[in-house]
């Protein structure tokens, strides 16, 4: 046997060789590396420029419903992760349209009150519900000052594989956590708003001084909703 021929046979044999019980070289090659996970160095947040948000436009709401498999034609009892609120100052008549969703507080009241620890804040500032331990008591729904949380009253079918949701649990905006974990840089609502030409929603890392959101919040005046509660929100509004 020639030297080259011997090497070929040896390589072919090696691919099927057991390294340890149950582990073959070929399996190591196939396994994709898991993602790094939520980093405490990151603080995900959103800037909503209400001067750019159009009255009557609900593209962000529709995009959220589609992305997360929510009811496309919501009933009064359907879960709602983002909603459009029309506000008007009575004395001056100045009106604005404001999308409101989970504000991803640094000090979330929903986490404080949760009796099972199902409501929690990730290392990167995203506030979520772990449905595995949610008992559906709805204490968090009551505690949230922004009415951001919804309860799922009825059995669901055909959920998105990336967004499991079901009856008996509370849920709210996840900042499209399934996208962020995969390394995508925007949420469904921000993407839809940009696509519609408004660009009123900017998503990004508030801790990264070089990110667009950090630059914008440095340059323009922004407000936290109910700032008096001192919850240190991840979502900021301009123009209200």
């Amino acid at each position: 046997m020639s030297r080259r021929g011997f090497l070929g046979v040896a390589a072919a044999g090696l691919a099927g060789v057991m390294l340890a019980p149950g582990i073959r070289l070929i399996e190591i090659a196939q396994a994709a590396a898991p993602t790094a996970g939520a980093s405490p160095k990151v603080r995900w947040g959103m800037l909503i420029d209400t001067t750019k948000c159009a009255t009557g436009c609900t593209d962000c709401v529709t995009a959220c419903n589609t992305e997360n498999g929510l009811d496309p034609k919501p009933s009064p009892t359907s879960a709602q992760w983002i909603r459009k609120v029309e506000i008007k100052e009575i004395k001056t008549g100045r009106a604005s349209s404001v999308p409101v969703m989970c504000q991803h507080c640094a000090e979330p009241p929903c986490v404080d009150v949760c009796p099972t620890g199902a409501s929690f804040k990730r290392a990167d500032g995203i506030v979520l519900v772990d449905r595995h331990s949610c008992i559906g008591c709805r204490y968090c729904v009551m505690a949230c000052p922004y009415k951001a949380r919804s309860f799922v009253h009825e059995e669901l079918s055909d959920q998105k594989p990336d967004v499991p949701r079901g009856k008996g649990c509370v849920e709210s905006c996840t900042l499209c956590v399934h996208r962020i974990d995969k390394g995508e840089k925007t949420t469904a609502c921000a993407e839809a708003c940009t696509r519609a030409g408004h660009g009123a929603i900017v998503f990004g890392d508030l801790n990264d001084a070089g990110s667009e959101i950090s630059r914008r919040v440095r340059e323009i005046q922004t407000t936290q909703l109910r700032a008096d509660l001192k919850l240190d929100l991840g979502v900021r509004y301009h123009g209200i």
Binding site: G22, P34, T35, A38, A123, L128, H132, P161, P164
Partner: protein
């Protein structure tokens, strides 16, 4: 009275034989384990998965939900991608589908699919436009 009992026994035997035609004769119907999609390789040998899949998944779910770690070795989505039935496209829709066939045999009620999709991503995507 005895003839009635014999008739009931015969009927029971007939109906059992009808529904479990593919099964070897025995007192207990064995689970029909559907084969995974051809050309796919499970993350662990069958005997390990049969005994420990619940531990793998439970450990992984906390890493994923709380830690944001995705694409790790064990994942429910990974199971579904290979084990969805070619007929129903699901692991839990029909009695013979992969997860349900064993779990009904073992009398273990799983509520995974109350929230999790029981179909692979492509199947859900195909269904959406209509």
């Amino acid at each position: 009275m005895r003839s009635l009992a014999a008739l009931i026994g015969l009927l029971a035997a007939l109906s059992a034989g009808g529904t479990l035609a593919a099964e070897p004769a025995g007192r207990t119907p064995k689970p029909v384990v559907e084969t995974a999609t051809a050309g796919t390789q499970c993350v662990a040998p069958p005997e390990v998965m049969r005994r420990s899949h619940m531990d793998f998944l439970k450990h992984q779910r906390d890493d994923t939900v709380h830690g944001g770690i995705r694409g790790a070795k064990y994942s429910l989505k990974g199971c579904i991608d290979c084990h969805a039935s070619p007929k129903t496209g699901s692991v839990a829709k029909a009695e013979t589908n992969f997860c349900v066939s064993c779990h009904s045999y073992a009398a273990v009620k799983i509520d995974c699919f109350g929230c999790h999709a029981s179909k692979p991503a492509e199947a859900v995507a195909q269904k959406e436009p209509k």
